[in-house]
């Protein structure tokens, strides 16, 4: 049994009310709770106030606008995965959402919660007892990193499936705070700090994800994991093709998903060269499970798989 620590639950009916509650010290947002609650049960977060977004119906819709697809932060991952327009205009995102956890997690978990997922590490996602036996670590309560000897910065892995897809699709996060609305490109939202890898303040609220609708654009997502369900990614790969231009993003490495620079100078059809560039630029670490050498070799394989599928989708069907 893993009892939750004590807290006060708030269920605001408007975004403004939610923002007011988030200003309280030690307040945290709960969306689906599928990341926050297990983490609280392990003593990783002890918020005094938990602000539920359950009743903010306005955050729960998917809208197709002329230039963008707008996905509310509270849209369930199951809906993102199954929605026809998302599958069409943001294929990689729908595929990524469809690989998160198991069906229960996708029904309960939200897109906003996935984008704001806490980073993961084999030395962090453990019980209080386990972590205390090891003397804790930089990310919480400790002074050292057990992954990088002498490391001064936490390198816990971005383990959210939708992150790589959102970056590859040039999506924009719409964030509400006391000062109003601001927009951040997904490519800038995730930062290289495992302690907190998202550029959003604790008293701000992610409202929606906007994905541009671009004619003839195709995308695909591939995930490496041991079992076909439940497991977090051991590698997360999203690719986007605009004609011959290609973008490749690889995640589940460290805190910031990595855009493959080498791919940007190549044409989409140079599959081998792109996969080679990705393998050169990505260095998996022993921060999450899975043999590091195997994960490194699989970068090439997963990138190729995603590219081949995207190229196939770009071809007019005969």
């Amino acid at each position: 049994m893993l009892p939750l620590p004590e807290f006060t639950l708030h269920s605001p009916r408007t975004i403004d009310e939610a923002l007011g509650l988030l200003a309280k010290p030690g307040a945290m947002i709960i969306a689906g709770g599928t990341d926050l609650l297990p983490n609280m049960k392990q003593g990783l977060h002890q918020p005094e106030h938990v602000v539920s977004l359950q009743h903010l119906a306005e955050l729960r819709a998917i809208r197709v606008e002329q230039k963008v697809l707008v996905l509310g932060a509270m849209t369930s991952l199951a809906e993102v995965a199954e929605h026809e327009d998302v599958r069409k205009y943001a294929t990689a995102l729908a595929e990524a959402a469809g690989t998160v956890g198991g069906p229960h997690h996708r029904r309960m978990g939200t897109l906003g919660g996935n984008l704001c997922l806490d980073t993961r590490c084999r030395y962090y996602n453990q019980s209080q007892f386990w972590r205390s036996a090891l003397g804790f670590c930089l990310k919480k309560d400790g002074e050292v990193c057990h992954v990088v000897e002498g490391g001064k910065k936490c390198v816990a892995a971005a383990s959210n499936d939708t992150a790589a897809a959102a970056i590859a699709l040039e999506a924009v996060l719409v964030i509400r705070g006391a000062q109003g609305v601001r927009r951040v490109a997904a490519g800038e939202f995730f930062v290289a700090d495992g302690a907190r890898n998202i550029a959003i303040a604790r008293d701000e609220l992610l409202v929606a994800l906007e994905v541009p609708r671009v004619a003839k654009r195709v995308s695909a997502y591939e995930k490496l994991r041991r079992r076909g369900a439940i497991d977090f990614p051991l590698l997360s790969v999203a690719v986007r093709l605009d004609g011959s231009a290609v973008e490749v993003v690889v995640s589940a490495l460290a805190a910031k998903p990595r855009r493959i620079n080498g791919a940007q100078k190549l044409a989409a059809t140079q599959v081998e060269a792109i996969a080679e560039a990705a393998a050169r630029e990505c260095n998996p670490m022993p921060n999450i499970d899975g043999d590091v050498a195997w994960r490194k070799q699989m970068v090439r394989v997963m990138v190729k798989r995603a590219l081949v599928r995207a190229i196939g989708a770009a071809q007019p069907s005969t």
């Binding site: 049994m1 893993l2 009892p3 939750l4 620590p5 004590e6 807290f7 006060t8 639950l9 269920s11 709960i30 689906g32 709770g33 599928t34 609650l37 297990p38 049960k41 392990q42 938990v50 539920s52 359950q54 956890g101 198991g102 069906p103 229960h104 997690h105 029904r107 309960m108 076909g228 369900a229 439940i230």
Partner: protein
């Protein structure tokens, strides 16, 4: 800790219960309402043993705050009548061995069968992919659910039914 009274529908009955903010739906079902059919496995979202239907959808009771269920409808394994084709099918196919995963499997199956009258084996496998079973190897479970969709099992007749479950006293105060 403040107790907050909520009203929710549990297995069709309007139920009032006082809960703490930090209590999960699973804890309230098992320890306040004595509905111990729903199992507590990992208690952190990994195994699916705690699956119940929330407004008809299979969810994890261990990751659902009880307070968030106010005004909603919860269906647990106790809702399944003793004579039920799904139970009989699990029995005939040997789909339960130690039985720990069974209540969760049954509720996931109920959620699926309510949406798809005759689910394919692939769709069954996908639906139960969040429910771990350490005993059966899943094959018998998939077959048991498929047989219900295909209508090849009947609920057990009265004389073949196991004795009713013992009842557990009044909810703990």
């Amino acid at each position: 800790m403040t107790l907050i009274p909520i009203t929710l529908t549990i297995n069709g009955d309007l139920t009032q219960v006082a809960v703490h903010a930090s209590q999960t739906l699973l804890e309230v079902l098992r320890y306040e309402l004595r509905l111990i059919g729903t199992k507590q496995g990992c208690d952190k979202g990994d195994c699916g043993a705690c699956t119940v239907l929330l407004d008809g959808e299979p969810v994890l009771g261990c990751l659902t705050l009880a307070l968030s269920c106010a005004g909603r409808s919860v269906t647990t394994v106790e809702s399944i009548p003793r004579a039920d084709p799904l139970l009989e099918s699990f029995d005939c196919h040997g789909a339960g061995q130690c039985g720990f995963c069974t209540p969760g499997m049954l509720m996931t199956a109920k959620g699926l069968l309510a949406k798809e009258k005759k689910p394919s084996r692939d769709s069954i496998r996908a639906a139960i992919s969040g429910n771990l079973c350490r005993c059966t190897g899943y094959g018998p479970i998939v077959e048991a659910i498929a047989a219900v969709g295909e209508g090849t099992v009947q609920p057990a007749t009265e004389e073949k039914l196991p004795p009713p479950l013992p009842s557990y006293g009044a909810p703990r105060k």
